[in-house]
């Protein structure tokens, strides 16, 4: 039995620069593991330790999946092994294609009984991969999970919706997407990082997991920085009575 935690490698959005023509410039952007995926990896690491099972980390993407620093980073967070599916097309693929690839990769693994995903990818945040992955595997799948316990072949979980928390039970295997406040992802120790270098990691092509069609349902037309709305930008400065009262008077006029 094993647990799979899925993750996506994304550019750090803090480092994205905007070109004069509003296109995005990624040249200074460092890579990171998707923020919300870290919660899935942490949940997997904790469950693997408490149920004495093995955690495998799984990603699909472009050449970024071969980044040795990221590989070390993911393996220092608990997984015993890392699997990456790599194709240039996957760098911009969306939930439909990514879920297809992940499902195919999971089918090639032995006795997976639980797959964990984050709430959404840090770049696109479509919040779809976990559910679509479950549907493709023919497994029960659920999102918005804030706590998870596994006993034998059953998982008991809590799911936070708008105004209620559902307490649910499911027979494994299943795919579970966890929310960001489920846990606090660990900060790997130096020992974890050194140990990560010795753990196995393999990179496969889509073809090697049996997928040849990488066409998605949607086509990207453009990705541009938002147009700034024209604003008056009238700035008053100072915390003296006159400035503040004239500012407050202006607000009153807006009512």
């Amino acid at each position: 039995m094993s647990i799979v935690a899925c993750y996506k490698i994304v550019p750090d959005e803090q480092d994205i620069a905007i070109n004069p023509d509003r296109t995005l410039n990624f040249s200074r952007a460092t890579l990171k593991i998707g923020d919300y995926d870290l919660n899935a990896v942490e949940a997997g690491a904790q469950l693997a330790a408490s149920t004495d099972t093995q955690l495998v980390s799984l990603t699909a993407g472009g050449p970024e999946v071969k980044d040795s620093k990221i590989k070390k980073s993911i393996l220092s967070r608990g997984p015993a092994e890392n699997v990456a599916i790599c194709d240039p097309v996957l760098a911009t693929a969306e939930a439909d294609v990514i879920s297809k690839i992940l499902a195919a990769a999971i089918r090639t693994m032995d006795e997976v009984n639980l797959v964990l995903c984050g709430e959404g990818s840090a770049d696109l945040y479509e919040q779809q991969v976990g559910i679509q992955l479950g549907e493709r595997l023919g497994w029960p799948a659920i999102n918005a999970v804030s706590s998870l316990e596994v006993e034998g072949d059953r998982a008991r979980l809590r799911r936070t919706l708008g105004n209620e928390v559902q307490v649910l039970e499911v027979t494994l295997p299943a795919v579970v997407s966890v929310v960001a406040d489920m846990n606090e992802p660990r900060i790997p120790s130096m020992k974890d990082i050194l140990g990560a270098g010795k753990k196995p990691s393999k990179t496969l092509t889509p073809d090697e997991v049996g997928i040849t069609d990488l066409d998605g349902c949607l086509e990207i037309v453009s990705t541009l920085a938002p147009e700034q709305k024209e604003r008056a930008c009238e700035i008053l400065e100072g915390d003296d009575t006159d400035t503040i009262t004239s500012f407050v008077a202006r607000i009153r006029e807006m009512e």
Binding site: E126, L168, P226, R231, C233, V248
Partner: protein, 301 residues
Amino acid sequence: MNKDTIILIAEEPRDFEVLIAGAVALGGKPVAIYAGPDADAQKIAAMGARVLHFGELTEGALFADAADAFENAITSEGGSVILGRSTKAVQEIAGKLAVRLNAGVVNDATSLAWDDDALLLTHLVYGGSAVRIEKATGSVIALLGPSAFEPVTLPAGEVVACNDAIEVGPFRLLDVIEKEEEQVDLGAAKIVVCVGRGIGTQENLAAIEAFARKLGAEMTCTRPITEVNEWMARSRYLGVSGTTIKPDVYIGFGISGQVQHTVGMNGAKTVVVVNKDKNAPFFKQCDLGLVADVDKVLPYL
């Protein structure tokens, strides 16, 4: 692509308002697929949609257990554009339907437009740093926030009873715990007052809340105020993973104006900002700004 029939999916009757408006914006007839009480199906019909009503969910069933019934309804209606309200349960059923119908999904779509026979869908990516336009030439599911389209008035539609039973799925519902946290609908607010961590203390928050009451404004906040300070309900935070609103007036206190927040409010007609840091990016994106310490301003509000 079927441009005439636009399928709508939501959990609550009030959520259909924005979806109906979206269907009208696309020039199609709104067809709501709904599982819930009969009175609520009538409410949705009164808003102007034809309602395919599946009765109430079987005791213990989750919303997504309706996937089989909804899939059949979409197929028999021949709909290729499906609009859903972007809630967790709708995101869940959308994922199941997307795989079965071979449809793309765009979450939190901010605008929709026809380009000949293709549908263009706009949404934010990279934490609000960019706007992406995607093109769908086949079936597509667009999930919308509460303010994506202005409400419209239509003649009432009819309710059509559908008999497919919605059975309990693989998840056994053991218990439902009502959350005590308040749920607010910020979409209707004309004036909002918003606070960020720069307000400093909970006493200041109370003073700003009193000011908001005087203005008849709704209180909103940035993500850290709910998730780090836990001072306000999650339904009140604006931004990339929170709510997006387009009020007449937005008044922000102690907010720097990071893109993750401003994507939630930059549709406001007038933006007013108070911050002590004159280099805060928000001062470049406001109509009226005051560079001052929030503590000094509060006594005058």
